[in-house]
């Protein structure tokens, strides 16, 4: 789980970064007018510059949702609208669909870029602590922390188990028809990881996790943090307000 190296950025406090991200992301998803979208792109570029968006962090975040967005963006101009723009072979490109597709693609890219810019430099356990400080229930914060612990262990455990299975002749590949064997391997992994997850939780409790007198994870928001946050939220909500008033 890489935490991308990036400079601290104009907001140091991860709590305020989360608030800024949520505010901007929901704001962006309410925009549709061309001039508003242009301002959204400009704001995103400014943020990416200000927070030092590592290109690798952005690229990694575009890979998974890319297929769904690409499908929507390619299909919409072909399936939606009345104004015919062009014929490409048997296909018809329509203006309304193309317009919606553009809006979706831009909003998607900007939200993902802002998320990468604001959060890629925050270590994940620190992010969990920030969410806890913002009101995430303790039970869910514990689950999140432990989950981060398990992902890598599970991945490695599953890999070793698959190696052991292949050494005993199991065919490679997912459609090899070994649903039962794969299900059993998953269940075995769950069973032993379950014992381990209890040990990990016990180890945390023995060292006072959740103790009443614990000093909370230290967060300090500087005056600059607050200023930048308020400026960003004003910019975002300003865009939304303007679009709906105009």
């Amino acid at each position: 789980m890489p935490a991308d190296a990036a400079r601290p950025g104009p907001i140091a406090d991860p709590r305020l970064r989360v608030v800024a991200l949520v505010g901007l992301a929901f704001g962006f998803s309410a925009l549709a007018e061309p001039w508003a979208l242009a301002l959204m792109v400009a704001l995103t570029l400014a943020l990416a510059w200000g927070f030092g968006l590592p290109p690798a962090a952005l690229a990694r975040r575009l890979r998974w949702p890319g297929t769904v967005v690409a499908a929507v963006v390619i299909l919409l101009p072909l399936m939606s609208g009345e104004t015919v723009l062009a014929h490409i072979g048997p296909l018809t490109v329509r203006a309304e669909g193309l317009e919606v597709a553009t809006v979706i693609a831009l909003r998607f890219l900007c939200i993902v870029a802002v998320a990468a810019a604001l959060l890629s430099a925050v270590p994940l356990p620190r992010l969990v602590a920030a969410l806890r400080a913002l009101g995430l229930p303790a039970l869910m914060a514990d689950m999140a922390l432990l989950m981060l612990r398990h992902v890598e262990d599970l991945r490695q455990g599953l890999r070793r188990m698959r190696v052991a299975m292949r050494l005993r002749g199991a065919p490679a590949g997912f459609w090899a028809g070994q649903f039962r064997a794969n299900g059993w391997a998953l269940a075995s992994l769950l069973l032993r990881s379950h014992a381990q997850s209890e040990r990990i939780y016990h180890a945390m409790i023995v060292r006072g996790h959740g103790a009443a007198r614990a000093s909370p994870e230290p967060f300090r928001a500087s005056r600059r943090d607050w200023t930048v946050l308020i400026a960003l939220l004003l910019a975002g909500s300003g865009l939304v307000l303007l679009e709906h008033v105009l």
Binding site: P123, P125, L145, R149, D153, Q196, R199, I200, H202, A203, M204, I205, V206, R207, G208, H209, A211, A212, R213, A214, S215, E217, P218
Partner: protein
């Protein structure tokens, strides 16, 4: 075995069950004096780990109690005075860097700022990991991870250290380093291990448990050197004691060793 007036840790007729199953521990009683180092040996499944978890208050005993000095330990509450180092370092380490992991326990004691930094630095210094403070815990070697775990509990200034298989998965160099470090500590210790040579070097007194109960409690050399007793509970007499079978006591200080071509070796 006589124990001074006020033991630091006392188990009083502890019985523990998991769920609805049969008892895992039955009527366990012993006391550890301040600074005393006690070995805990016995076959797999004898209940060693369960006992350690019960002594920290993580597991709740069905009957009996644990006392810390004069006070009865309330299960489920944070008891930094009794520190447990887990068998597998990866069960215990979970923060990104060594310093953060060591800070975890101290922060839960309410330490902050300079006091926290000082406590962490002292603990790391104690185990000789000061130079690795900012390293990711997952990049440490097995031996260094074990030391980081130790620092992570020392930072809470415990009075009793419970160690579960401290030499497991260590190569011999790191095992030696750990033994010397533990020998230099002033805390009372309960050391659960299959590594009987380590127990012998570290602990003057040994508890042998099997089937959830204590079957022997006495001087390490006499318990571990009793071939009949050890065999009855699935243990072998450690190599370094097989050389003086027939003698009950081992004269460590003088280095005198009786020779009796060990059958274990001849068998090889």
């Amino acid at each position: 075995m006589t124990v001074p007036a006020m033991p630091v840790l006392t188990a009083e007729s502890l019985s523990v069950t998991h769920g609805d199953g049969p008892p895992v521990l039955r009527d366990i009683g012993f006391a550890i004096a301040p600074g005393e180092r006690v070995g805990l040996v016995g076959p797999n499944g004898a209940g060693k780990t369960t006992l350690l978890l019960t002594l920290t208050g993580v597991l709740r005993a069905r009957a009996g109690s644990v006392r810390l000095g004069g006070r009865t330990l309330a299960p489920g509450t944070f008891t930094p005075e009794v520190a447990l180092v887990f068998q597998h370092a990866h069960d215990q380490l979970f923060c990104p860097t060594v310093a953060e992991d060591v800070a975890f326990g101290a922060r839960n004691l309410g330490l902050t700022g300079a006091a926290l930094d000082r406590a962490v630095a002292e603990a790391l210094d104690r185990v000789g990991l000061a130079a690795l403070a900012d390293r990711p815990v997952h990049h440490l070697s097995g031996g260094e991870q074990r030391l980081a775990c130790l620092a992570g509990v020392l930072v809470m200034a415990p009075r009793v250290l419970l160690l579960d298989e401290p030499s497991g998965a260590l190569d011999l160099r790191n095992r030696r380093r750990l033994i010397e470090l533990l020998q230099g500590m002033e805390q009372a210790m309960l050391v659960a291990s299959h590594d009987l040579e380590l127990v012998l070097e570290l602990c003057p007194r040994v508890l042998l448990i099997d089937g959830g109960g204590i079957v022997a409690d006495g001087a390490a050399a006499s318990v571990l050197g009793d071939a009949g007793l050890m065999a009855a509970h699935g243990q072998e007499v450690p190599h370094s004691l097989t050389w003086h079978r027939g003698e009950r006591h081992r004269h460590r200080a003088t280095g005198t060793v009786a020779v009796a071509a060990g059958t274990d070796v001849a068998r090889a």
